[in-house]
Every structure is written in structure tokens, then in C-alpha cells.
């Protein structure tokens, strides 16, 4: 579906932000792109729809070479790529419905969009998507009145109404609390599989990536340094992020060499914290 060949990007005269990235993502695959800040994750997904112009290399979406397209052809190709953003990037003063329908801008003429007279089919699509993400009753609310989780759902609906072949997702959960993050990730994964969409998701939260992605690609200094299953070994994490005590995690408890230093009482059943179910299920 998406094929990237030897993609490089240099901003000004600084060092390479992307350095010969080659990657192939088949339809239906959810790929998590991880790596330290400044590794080039955002640049990579923005090169795919050429919000950032690549310096060299080629990108194919299906059969069309994105990197070879002229201005108008690029605009039409962008319809095939849905993008979802970290800070949601909704147009704050427009309503939820207007934000969702703006995903159809590539398909409708100027006056139809200016007068907000979208084709009936688009309105139906928009309502169906709002139903799907659970926001149908908010259609006429202004986007800045919604909570973070609700906004990201609108962002997802806006991307999906384009009827894209691929989703480019930039840090979808960075501004959300842990529970909402999981709900958003679950929704994204479900939607990708329902529609057989390829999805490239930039993430900082490694455990969340492991939980939801089918494949993980690690980027460091603009180069792909890991490409494999989501079960990342401490060695793999060191390759991607650099030296750190990766073996130590809440799941594993203390690292072996620290175990003796702090003596801990054996846990009894009563000491295990109970998890309080959230009574309000709305996001």
C-alpha cells in the first residue's frame, strides 16, 4: 500500500532529519513509529503527504508516485491520506459537523464548501461517522467546547470521511489521559481493521504502542534501527532510544541488582490494590 524508498530530508543546512528511510506498509497494518524526540518521526509522516517536501527518495501510495506529483495531482492524492494530529488540530471556531465535513474539501467545489452545501452523500457519511465515534449529539457544538477525547474523535472522523487508503497519525494520545489514550488507540485499531486501512502512528508511549500495534518501527537520528514485532526486548529499546535501565518496569518489578538493596515484604492478597471502575463511562 505505502512504499517508501531511500527517503531523506534535510532542513536547511543542518544534519539529515531523515536518512535513507526505506519502509513498506501493507493494507490493514497498524504500524507504530517510535523513537526519541527529534528522531524524524513527524518529518517522516509529513513527507508522505508532502506537508514537508522530501529532499530525496521516492514514496508510492498504491501505484502512484507521490514524490513525482504536480501541485494539483498532489492535492488530489492528499484525499487518499487521512491525517490525525497530536493537538487534534480541529478548527476551533467551527462546529463539529463543519470540522468533519472539511475532510471532504478535496472532493467538493469552492462554492459548495463556502456555503456549506455539501452533497447529501457527504452529510450521510458524516452522520454515520459521528455515530461510529459516539458524537452524533454534538454535531452542532463548536469544536472548542469538547473535551480532549471528544476532539480526537472528531479528528478521526475528519480523517475517515476522506475515505482514505492510509492513515497518518501524529502522536494521537500525547495530549490525553491514560484511559482516553487507550480508548482512542482501540478505536483507531478497530477502524483500521474495519476498513482495511494501513496506519502509521507516531508514538512516544512505548507500552501503548506494544499493546495496539502489529508492527513497530524504531527511528533514531533519521534512520530505521528497528523493524519488527511489538514485543521489544531491552536490547531493542537500547538500540532505539539509547542506554537506560530498560529491564526495570512496573511489570517486572525491580531490576535484579536492586532487588536485594531494598527489602520488600511479600505481597498478600489484601495488599494488592483494587482497581476502581470508572462509573462515568463517557469520554
Amino acid at each position: 500500500m505505502l512504499r517508501i524508498e531511500e527517503l531523506s530530508k534535510r532542513y536547511g543546512r543542518t544534519e539529515l532529519a531523515l536518512d535513507g528511510v526505506t519502509l513498506e506498509v501493507p493494507a490493514g497494518q497498524v504500524l507504530a513509529l517510535i523513537g526519541p524526540s527529534g528522531a524524524g518521526k513527524s518529518t517522516l509522516i509529513r513527507c508522505v503527504n508532502r506537508l514537508v517536501e522530501p529532499t530525496s527518495g521516492r514514496i508510492f501510495l498504491g501505484d502512484s508516485e507521490i514524490t513525482a506529483l504536480g501541485k494539483r495531482a498532489l492535492r488530489l492524492a492528499r484525499r487518499r491520506m487521512g491525517m490525525i494530529f497530536q493537538e487534534f488540530a480541529l478548527v476551533e471556531r467551527l462546529t463539529v459537523m463543519e470540522n468533519v465535513l472539511s475532510g471532504r474539501l478535496g472532493y467538493v467545489g469552492f462554492w459548495a464548501s463556502f456555503l456549506r452545501r455539501y452533497p447529501d452523500a457527504d452529510i450521510d457519511r458524516a452522520f454515520a461517522l459521528l455515530d461510529r465515534v459516539g458524537l452524533a449529539q454534538f454535531a452542532d457544538k463548536r469544536a472548542d467546547q469538547l473535551s480532549g477525547g471528544q476532539r480526537q474523535r472528531v479528528g478521526i472522523a475528519r480523517a475517515l470521511i476522506q475515505e482514505p487508503e492510509i492513515l497518518l497519525i501524529d502522536e494521537p494520545t500525547a495530549s490525553l489521559d491514560p484511559k482516553t489514550s487507550r480508548q482512542i488507540m482501540r478505536l483507531l485499531v478497530e477502524l483500521a481493521s474495519e476498513r482495511d486501512l494501513a496506519a502509521v502512528i507516531n508514538m512516544h508511549d512505548v507500552p501503548l504502542a506494544q499493546l495496539f500495534a502489529q508492527r513497530v518501527v524504531g527511528l533514531r537520528s533519521g534512520q530505521v534501527v528497528y523493524d519488527g514485532p511489538p514485543a521489544l526486548t531491552p536490547e531493542a529499546l537500547t538500540t532505539i532510544y539509547g542506554e537506560e535501565d530498560w529491564a526495570r518496569s512496573p511489570a517486572h518489578g525491580l531490576a535484579p541488582d536492586e532487588g536485594e538493596a531494598s527489602v520488600e515484604k511479600p505481597r498478600t492478597a489484601a495488599a494488592v490494590p483494587t482497581i476502581h471502575r470508572d462509573k462515568a463511562r463517557s469520554v
Binding site: A89, V91, F110
Partner: protein
């Protein structure tokens, strides 16, 4: 260990330059004050005339020249409103072009040049030029105010567009929207409240300007005021000034309400 001291770093790091700047500024102020020559006898004469003017305010005379005042007001208000409408209609496209983040560099430079020309000339000077070109009367005033509005509004609109949230701009661009759709969906919602506020503010300014430029022959209430002053009819002048103040205050009050509403 010795106690460590801290004070905020000075604005000018080099102490010689810093104290040099202080000394230079003081010397300049002293010299400037010394160069002012006041002729106190003329000030004393002027005080008497000033007092006549102020006492005129205590007895404003609306009736004596009522017909001329009404005509001047009509001219001024017509001039203000039409010039604001035309000025805004021309400012919006120029403002879009002058926003670096949404426009082609050549368009950007052209629009910035238009703004620079409009802003570099003060209204009274523009009025003198237009009076020379099209003759005395409110049409010269209309042209003056339209032209001045372009410089003001385009610049502030362009700056507001440049401050727009890049995330929202990027998101709409990523949908495959055309440039005009992009402006309509991503730029317009972000700048509209400020644009409306600026237009109302400019309407205020334009009314006040219409009074000023009348003095150089561009018609309106300014011309009426000038005539009254020339005839030493301070009571009539006071009446005109009071009407101008009342209208400006009403506009101020109305526009602040409207601005709150469009947020």
C-alpha cells in the same frame, strides 16, 4: 564557602556602553530643553484667547449654524461609511496576500509594498494630494479615508493571519483542499473575530479622520468646524466639537458591545 550573590543581568552587558548611553541620553535631554525658547508675553496673550474658547464651550451654540452643521455631519458620516466599506473590501485581499504563511513570496512582497506606501503617508498629507487631484469636497475625503484604511487594516489582518495556529492550517491543507477552501475553512474562522473588531475600530478612526481632513478641504464636518474657527465663532465650534465627541462615544460604546458578541 562564600555566600554567592545574584542580581539580574543588565540589558546592555558592556558597562562602558551602558553608562555611556545613560550619560548621552541625559545630555540630549538637557540640550533639547535648553533649545526651547518660550515667548511668555505671547503665551499670556494666548491664554486670553484660550479662555474665550473655553468659555465658548460653556455656551455651545447649535442653533446659529444648524443647517451647515447638519450638512457637514451628513457629508462626514457618508464619507466615513462608504470609505470604510470600500477600504475593507480592498484590505481583505491585500491582507491575505500580505500574510507570509499563506501566500506566494511574490504576492507577499507586492502586498507588503502597497501597505508600506499607504502607511507611510499621514491622512492629512494624503488628503492634500487628493484635494489637489479631484478638487475640494467630500469625494477627496472618501478617497483619502479608503486609502488610509487599506494600510491599517491589511497590515493588522496579515499579522493576525501570520499568528494563526499552524496546526489548524496544516490539518485543512492535509485534506486536499484548494487554496481558497483552505482560506475559508482554516484561516477565516481563526481571524474573523479580530477582523470584525478591527473594522469597527477603523470605523471610529475614520469618523475622527473625516473631521480632521475637512480642515484641508476634503469636505465634511471638518470644513464646517474650520469655517466656524475662522469666523471666531467659538460657541459654534464648541457645539460642533460636542457633537463629534458624542458620536465618537456612541460608536465606541456600540462597537465594544458588538466585539464582545462576536468572540
Amino acid at each position: 564557602m562564600a555566600r554567592r550573590r545574584w542580581s539580574p543581568p543588565p540589558l546592555v552587558a558592556n558597562p562602558v556602553l551602558r553608562y555611556g548611553l545613560y550619560a548621552g541620553s541625559l545630555a540630549y535631554i538637557a540640550l533639547a530643553l535648553a533649545s526651547i525658547h518660550v515667548n511668555w508675553t505671547r503665551v499670556a496673550d494666548g491664554l486670553a484667547r484660550g479662555w474665550a474658547f473655553i468659555s465658548g464651550f460653556l455656551h455651545p451654540n447649535f442653533a446659529a449654524r444648524w443647517g451647515e452643521i447638519v450638512q457637514g455631519m451628513q457629508e462626514s458620516l457618508t464619507m466615513t461609511l462608504t470609505a470604510t466599506v470600500v477600504g475593507v473590501a480592498m484590505s481583505v485581499p491585500i491582507g491575505l496576500g500580505a500574510a507570509r504563511n499563506i501566500s506566494h513570496p511574490m504576492v507577499y512582497l507586492t502586498c507588503r509594498a502597497i501597505i508600506a506606501v499607504s502607511r507611510s503617508l499621514q491622512e492629512v498629507i494624503i488628503a492634500i494630494l487628493f484635494v489637489a487631484m479631484v478638487g475640494f469636497g467630500p469625494f477627496a475625503g472618501f478617497l483619502t479615508i479608503s486609502f488610509a484604511t487599506i494600510g491599517f487594516l491589511s497590515k493588522l489582518l496579515a499579522e493576525d493571519i501570520e499568528d494563526a495556529d499552524p496546526g489548524q492550517l496544516e490539518a485543512i491543507r492535509a485534506t486536499g483542499a484548494t487554496w481558497w477552501q483552505w482560506v475559508n475553512h482554516a484561516v477565516q474562522p481563526q481571524v474573523m473575530p479580530r477582523l470584525i473588531g478591527l473594522v469597527l475600530y477603523r470605523l471610529d478612526i475614520n469618523f475622527r479622520e473625516s473631521a480632521v481632513i475637512g480642515i484641508v478641504g476634503a469636505g465634511g464636518i471638518g470644513a464646517t468646524l474650520n469655517t466656524a474657527m475662522d469666523r471666531y465663532e467659538y460657541d459654534v465650534a464648541a457645539g460642533i466639537l460636542l457633537i463629534i465627541i458624542a458620536i465618537v462615544m456612541a460608536a465606541e460604546y456600540g462597537s465594544s458591545h458588538l466585539r464582545k458578541y462576536v468572540q
